[in-house]
């Protein structure tokens, strides 16, 4: 079942005197319960595409539909608040809050129903992702990169959304931690019936995904088989 549809989406920018098209009349449907990876060479527009899907910026042409409704008509801020979550490569956690407070923070921002008390729900979620309570109450800056990424994923899950986006989530992590994070994403797609879209350079991530997509010349192309080069 399609949760997210890209309809003739285009995006570009002016580079000197030339207009450079990054996304070119791109159309694609993403479904729930599937783990997608988008890969491609540097500068191909992967992060830009994820920014458009995450409503961090507006499309120049075409439309992005969430559950059949244009995200602009939903309202970009409201869409970001209630319908999707992004896991960033740099984690983007509030440095002056603890891991626990970072998760509780988004629970207070979203309008989605979250089981109360928030603290208990957040601790349970962090615990499921391997962050025990003694670490959860620590300042975020005292956690390792892998732990911070887990907190960022916990934050994404805490809003109870069906669309999870991730931009190079394993880019700063070692191989073992990368495998664990991939496993979490697969689990989210298959057990929690989320639509997980991950932008990554990593072959490992691409191999584990249900559908691999290559962004070439501003369009998404599905890759069959094991070759993700």
């Amino acid at each position: 079942m399609s949760i997210l549809s890209l309809k003739n989406v285009s995006y570009g920018y002016i580079d000197g005197n030339k207009k450079r098209t990054i996304i070119n009349d791109l159309s694609y449907d993403f479904e729930v319960g599937k783990f997608y990876t988008i890969f491609g060479p540097s500068g191909s527009g992967k992060t830009t595409l994820l920014s458009l899907i995450g409503a961090l910026e507006k499309t120049q042409e075409g439309a992005i539909l969430f559950d059949g409704q244009s995200i602009e008509s939903i309202g970009l801020s409201k869409y970001r608040r209630n319908h999707q979550s992004i896991v960033f490569q740099q984690f983007n956690l509030l440095p002056y809050l603890s891991a626990l407070d970072n998760v509780i923070n988004v629970m207070n921002i979203t309008n989605n129903p979250i089981p109360k008390p928030y603290k208990e729900t957040a601790l349970k979620l962090l615990n499921q992702l391997g962050i025990v309570e003694s670490k959860a109450v620590r300042s975020i800056q005292k956690l390792s990169g892998g732990e911070q990424q887990r907190v960022a994923i916990a934050r994404a899950l805490a809003t109870n959304v069906k669309l999870i986006l991730a931009d190079e989530p394993t880019g700063n992590l070692d191989t073992d931690t990368e495998r664990e994070i991939i496993s979490i994403f697969k689990n989210l797609a298959h057990e929690y019936q989320c639509c997980v879209i991950v932008v990554s350079h990593s072959q490992e991530v691409a191999k584990e995904s249900d559908i691999s997509l290559r962004l070439t010349n501003g369009k998404l192309v599905e890759i069959k088989g094991e070759n993700h080069e």
């Binding site: 910026e57 801020s77 970001r80 608040r81 960033f88 509780i104 207070n108 300042s139």
Partner: protein, 480 residues
């Protein structure tokens, strides 16, 4: 409301920034509070001086202006002063006395009267330091002056120019019946061997009817006015305090050859206002309703200006200090906050990316600054007042008893040069302590907190709005 929690957490975690902001707020608030306290206290001190001086306003003829205009040929020497614009005519006084803030008015008419059988007091200059003259028997005619009063106690007595030593003032029955009762001066009474209950017969100096009118003595007074030699020498003997009698206004017609009309020129009128704070309102009203070209309204302004001068300077200085500190403080705070907000672009972008509203992000920043500002301002309420006290101690009015002679003039009936005389209104004011009392003042605290918070909020909103106008991607990319 989780933005409040975020704000409090930020204050706790970013200790260095919070302390810096606190110190800055505290210094600005202290200077502003000290200035405000001194300014407010100086206002109160000026009000106290005004209260001490009293709420009396004297309306008299401006003889200096008349003399100047006569000299320059603008008006003729022979001009009847009652025809001049703004002089204290009865109708002008009646217009002013009907205002709500006027408590009472004493209308004064000077009328020269004669009785050649009575001894007149003559002033002989002496070389003594007091300049006091002595009484001698009259050699010519017995010229005297009648001074009217319309308030229950004549102004000369209420302001201590004269003291009633025997008898009383006119009672209600005598006033309503326009009875011929009179209050005479002690020296005059002694020289003429008069006592309470005796009669004094007088006739108007320029009257057409020369028959004597009899007045019964109901009171004897002494004059407290100390005349300057120079003034006393030039005065008509009839106008010397010792040759003055007091009768009620309503009885004056009994001796006047012409009836009282609205255009009657009074020697002056003393308005007693309900509160000294009405003085400027009263003066403004008078200036609007009556063109005071040849009239004067004086509320002991010379004494007030003399006493309030240092306080005024301090008040002006402190007011200026508050304005400068507020402007400088706003600029410094604005710059610091702008820099801080600029450093927090990443946080703003991240919060926007997870769906936080712009209003709540700005609200968080405002709470952060406001919490620190309230604590700093709260503490400065006490320390600022102490600083204000230290400043005010350097400028204060010494305890003093000030005596000032009002040298305004009063006109009489007839030629201004002849009947214009100094109104020697001897006002004594005891200024025991006009030091500026710098205390906690609710209005100052409210002004400080209000303006401080306003400055803080504005200094946060402007840079925050500048950053949040971008979309999250632009903000995060710029950080990257």
């Amino acid at each position: 409301m989780y933005f409040v929690t975020r704000a409090l957490e930020y204050i706790k975690k970013q200790k260095a920034r919070s302390i810096l902001l606190f110190v800055l707020f505290f210094i600005i608030a202290n200077i502003a509070m000290a200035g405000l306290s001194v300014y407010r206290a100086s206002e109160v001190a000026k009000q106290n001086i005004r209260s001490e001086i009293g709420a009396s306003v004297i309306y008299s003829i401006d003889s200096v202006k008349i003399a100047t205009d006569v000299k320059s040929g603008l008006i003729q020497y022979e001009t009847d002063p009652s025809t001049l614009v703004g002089v204290p005519l009865l109708k002008n006084v009646q217009l002013l006395m009907n205002q709500d803030y006027v408590k009472s008015v004493d209308m004064i008419i000077h009328l020269e009267v004669v009785n050649e059988m009575l001894e007149q007091y003559i002033y002989i200059p002496t070389t003594t330091s007091t300049g006091q003259g002595k009484a001698v028997p009259a050699t010519d005619s017995g010229d005297f002056s009648l001074k009217t009063y319309s308030s229950p106690i004549p102004t000369d007595f209420s302001n201590n120019n004269a003291t009633l030593i025997e008898g009383r003032f006119a009672n209600e029955t005598e006033i309503s019946g326009a009875s011929n009762v009179i209050i005479v001066e002690k020296t005059f009474a002694e020289n003429n061997q008069l006592k309470l209950g005796d009669n004094v017969e007088l006739t108007e100096f320029n009257g057409t009817d020369s028959s004597l009118v009899s007045f019964s003595i109901i009171g004897i007074y002494t004059s407290n006015i100390v005349l300057d030699d120079r003034v006393a020498r030039t005065m008509s003997p009839a106008l010397l305090p010792q040759n003055q009698f007091f009768i009620h206004l309503d009885a004056i017609e009994n001796i006047m050859s012409t009836p009282i009309s609205d255009d009657l020129l009074l020697a002056g009128a003393v308005f007693e206002l309900k509160d000294p704070t009405y003085i400027s309102t009263f003066k403004n009203f008078a200036a609007e309703e009556i063109n005071l070209k040849y009239g004067l309204l004086d509320a002991n302004d010379a004494l007030y200006n003399q006493l309030s001068g240092p306080i005024d300077s301090l008040g002006d200085l402190s007011g200026m200090m508050v304005i400068i500190v507020m402007i400088a403080g706003a600029l410094i705070l604005g710059l610091i906050t702008a820099l801080t907000v600029n450093q927090r672009k990443y946080e703003i972008g991240m919060l926007l990316a997870i769906g936080e509203s712009k209003i709540k992000i700005i609200s968080q920043f405002i709470v952060e600054v406001a919490v620190i500002a309230v604590i700093a301002f709260g503490l400065s309420v006490f320390t600022g007042v102490q600083a204000g006290k230290m400043i005010s101690q350097s400028v204060s009015v010494q305890p003093t008893t000030t005596s000032i002679s009002n040298t305004g003039t009063q006109g009489g009936r007839g030629n201004p040069s002849r009947f214009t005389q100094p109104v020697v209104s001897n006002t004594t004011v005891n200024i025991e302590d006009t030091k500026i009392s710098v205390e906690l003042d609710g209005l100052s605290i409210l002004i400080l907190l209000g303006s401080g918070l306003l400055i803080s909020v504005v200094s946060v909103i402007i840079p925050a709005l500048y950053v949040t106008r971008y979309n999250p991607k632009q903000i995060l990319n710029n950080i990257g």
